[in-house]
Symmetry: C2
Subunit: 378 residues, 2 copies
C-alpha cells in the first residue's frame, strides 16, 4: 500500500492547509486562504458535483428567514453583504450575479395568510420588504397567474449561478480529484491508500461531513429542474407559496430557469422520482402557467448538508480539525463569509461576526463519547 507522511504527490505542493470537500464552500475557503498567502489543496473525488451543482443560487436571507432562527438570519445578512466583493473578484457577469431582488407570491387565500405571517417576521426582524397587491405582482412579473393574491418584494435577496462560481474557483485554486476516507488531526487518508499531512485540515464535505467525522450532519435530498426559454421570458426571481407548498424559479441571463426544490429525508439517495418532478412542475405551472411551453432541459438531485438546528457548523472541533459544514439550504449564500471565518480562525484572528452560535462544540455533549474516540477511529 503506497503511503507517505506528507503530501508529496507530484502534482500537489506541500500545503499549509488541506481542505476536504470541493464544493462551493471548500473551494471558497481555499481561494480565500490563497488570497491571504496560505497555501491550500482541495481534495474531492468529484469536485463541484454535489449540492453546489444542484443549487439554484438564491442569495436570499429574507426568503430564507424563519421564526426562531434569528442567529442564522444575522449570519445570512452578513453573508449577503459579503457577496458583492466576492462576485466582483470572480467577475459578476461571469458568474451571473444579480441584485434584482426576489418576489414572494401567495397563490390562494391560505397562502396569503402564510404570507402575512412571514411579513410579521420581516417586520420583527427589521427587514426591508415591500408588500404588493395582486396587480402589482403581475406588473412586476407578467407570467404570474391571475389567481395570485399578493406578494412581498425583498430587494435584499439576490442570486448567482453556482455552477459558474465553482467553475471560476476551480481555475484559481489547487485541487486534487481523490476520495478522502479518513481525517485524523492534521492527516487525511485517501482511497488510494495515501496518508497526507499538512499544517491544518479543514472539513467542508457537505452532506458527507458526517461520514468523515462524527458530526450530526445529514443529507437532505433536493430534486431540482432546469427549464429554458427565451432570455427574459421570466423577468424576476420568484418564490411562490402554492397551496401550502413552496417553490422558486430563478431566471439566468441565458434563458435558463432553475426551479426547485423538493426537501426529502431519504439518506444518500439522489434518484429523480416521478412524484418529485410532478410536484415541482405542478406548483410551477400553477404559479407561472406561461412556462408550460418552456423546454425542460434537466432534472437533478443534490444532498443538502442539514444540521439538527438548521444552522451551519463552523469552527474548531476535536483533534484540532476546523469544520465548515452543515450549511443546509444556504451553502452558496454563506460560502464567501464562511471562507472569511475559516481564514480568520487559521490566522488566529476574530471573525467579522460572532460565530460562537455555529461552533461544533454545541453538539459535543450529545456525541462526546464518539468525539473522544476520534483519534482512535482515525
Amino acid at each position: 500500500m503506497p503511503a507517505s507522511s506528507d503530501i508529496s504527490h507530484p502534482d500537489v505542493p506541500n500545503p499549509d492547509v488541506i481542505v476536504v470537500g470541493g464544493g462551493i464552500v471548500g473551494l471558497s475557503i481555499a481561494w480565500q486562504l490563497q488570497q491571504n498567502s496560505i497555501s491550500a489543496v482541495v481534495l474531492d473525488k468529484a469536485l463541484g458535483s454535489g449540492a453546489s451543482h444542484a443549487a439554484a443560487g438564491m442569495l436570499a436571507p429574507v426568503n430564507e428567514a424563519y421564526w426562531g432562527e434569528s442567529e442564522v438570519l444575522r449570519l445570512h445578512l452578513a453573508a449577503s453583504a459579503a457577496w458583492p466583493e466576492f462576485a466582483a473578484a470572480l467577475g459578476a457577469d461571469t458568474v451571473d450575479y444579480h441584485r434584482n431582488g426576489m418576489l414572494l407570491a401567495a397563490f390562494d387565500a391560505d397562502d396569503k395568510t402564510q404570507l402575512a405571517h412571514l411579513h410579521e417576521l420581516h417586520q420583527q426582524e427589521g427587514l426591508t420588504v415591500e408588500t404588493l397587491r395582486s396587480q402589482q405582482c403581475r406588473e412586476m412579473e407578467p407570467l404570474l397567474s391571475p389567481s395570485v393574491q399578493g406578494g412581498i418584494f425583498s430587494p435584499l435577496d439576490h442570486h448567482v449561478n453556482p455552477r459558474l462560481v465553482v467553475q471560476e474557483l476551480l481555475k484559481a485554486v489547487t485541487v486534487r480529484a481523490t476520495h478522502v476516507e479518513q481525517v485524523t488531526g492534521n492527516c487525511v487518508t485517501t482511497s488510494d491508500g495515501q496518508t497526507l499531512s499538512c499544517g491544518q485540515v479543514v472539513v467542508a464535505a457537505g452532506a458527507w461531513s458526517g461520514r468523515l467525522l462524527d458530526l450530526p450532519v445529514r443529507p437532505v435530498k433536493g430534486q431540482i429542474l432546469r427549464l429554458r426559454g427565451e432570455p427574459g421570458l421570466l423577468r424576476q426571481p420568484i418564490r411562490g407559496l402554492i397551496r401550502g407548498a413552496s417553490i422558486y424559479a430563478i431566471p439566468r441571463s441565458d434563458g435558463e430557469i432553475v426551479v426547485g426544490a423538493t426537501q426529502e429525508e431519504m439518506g444518500f439517495d439522489t434518484r429523480i422520482t416521478a412524484g418529485g418532478v410532478y410536484e415541482l412542475l405542478r406548483d410551477l405551472l400553477t404559479l407561472l402557467p406561461g412556462l408550460s411551453e418552456a423546454d425542460l432541459t434537466e432534472t437533478w438531485a443534490g444532498l443538502r448538508p442539514g444540521s439538527p438546528d438548521n444552522a451551519p457548523i463552523i469552527g474548531w472541533g476535536p483533534s484540532g480539525i476546523c469544520f465548515a459544514s452543515g450549511h443546509f439550504r444556504n451553502g452558496v449564500l454563506t460560502a464567501p463569509i464562511t471562507a472569511s471565518f475559516v481564514t480568520a480562525l487559521l490566522q488566529k484572528q476574530e471573525p467579522c461576526i460572532d460565530i460562537g452560535p455555529f461552533s461544533p462544540s454545541r453538539f459535543v455533549s450529545a456525541t462526546s463519547s464518539s468525539w473522544r474516540d476520534l483519534q482512535a477511529v482515525g
Copy 2:
C-alpha cells in the same frame, strides 16, 4: 463533388433495393427482403433514432381502434397476427415481446361513459374483450387508484421493446449511416453528394417521408417518459382514460415503465416541455399513484408519421418508387406486415391482405401537379 452511377461504396455491396429510412419499418423491410434473397441496403443518417426510439411498443389493435377506421383495424389485427413469428425469429425474450393483454381503465364517471362508447365499437367490430368492474381492475393491477370506475381487458393487445427490435434488426441487415437528400426513380442522392442507383427504391422515412417526396406525411410530436422500479412493480400494461385524456404505461421485464404520450402538431420539433412532462406525470399519478416513488429515468420526444386519414401509405407511387410510410401511432405494430407487403410487391405477388386502401394513389388527385413534377424535382 464525388458522384457515382451505382452504389459502389467500398462497404456496401451493389444491392437490389435501397431502403431510405432506418427505423423499425425500413429495417424490417430490409430484413424480410434479405430472407427472400433480395439484397437491400438501408440508408439513414441516424439509424433507429426516430419514432422507433421514442415508441412504447404497444402492439394493440383493440386499444388503437377508433370509430370510422375499420380498414385500419383490419390491418392492425393482421399485423398483430404477424408478430409472433417475427418476434420468434428475432428471439421473443431478446426483444421483450409479451402477449399478456392490456387493461383499459376509466378514471371517473365521464371516462366510464367514454369506455362504454369504446365497448360498443369493440362489439360492433367483433373484438374479443372483457369488461371489468372497479375491483376486478384493481385485482388485475393493484397499483390502480381506488377511484377507477371500471375497465376493459383486451387479450389481443401485446407489447414489445422497439429499441431491442431495432438493435436486433441492425445486427442482421446491411446499413449505411448517411443522409438521403433526394430520391428519383431508382436513384438516391446523399448529403455527401453521391448518387446511388439500384433496382428499386423503397421510402420508409417516417415523418421525414414528406420532405423527400411530395407525400402528405406530417410529423406528430409525442413526448414520452421512461420510469424505473423493481421488476414487476407494474404488473400489467395499462391504458387509462383520465378526465378526458388518455395515457398508457407499459412495463418491461427489467423494471422499466414506458409512459406516453403527448400528441402535438408542432412540426419538426422534438423539445421536451415543462407542460408536456407535467401532463403525462399528472395523468399517470392520478391513475397509478403508487408510481410516485419510481425513478424518472428518461424524457424523450419523437415524431410520428401522420397521414391525412390516419392510415399508412404503402404501395407503388409515381416514378416507380415503393412507399412504406405514414404509420402514425402504429409503426411498431405494422412493421412486420408492412415488410411482407413490400416484399410481395417487389416479387410481383399479391400481399396477404388487400392493401388497396393504403395505396399512395389515394392522395394523387390532391397533389397531382407535384407528383407530375417529381422527376424534375429529383
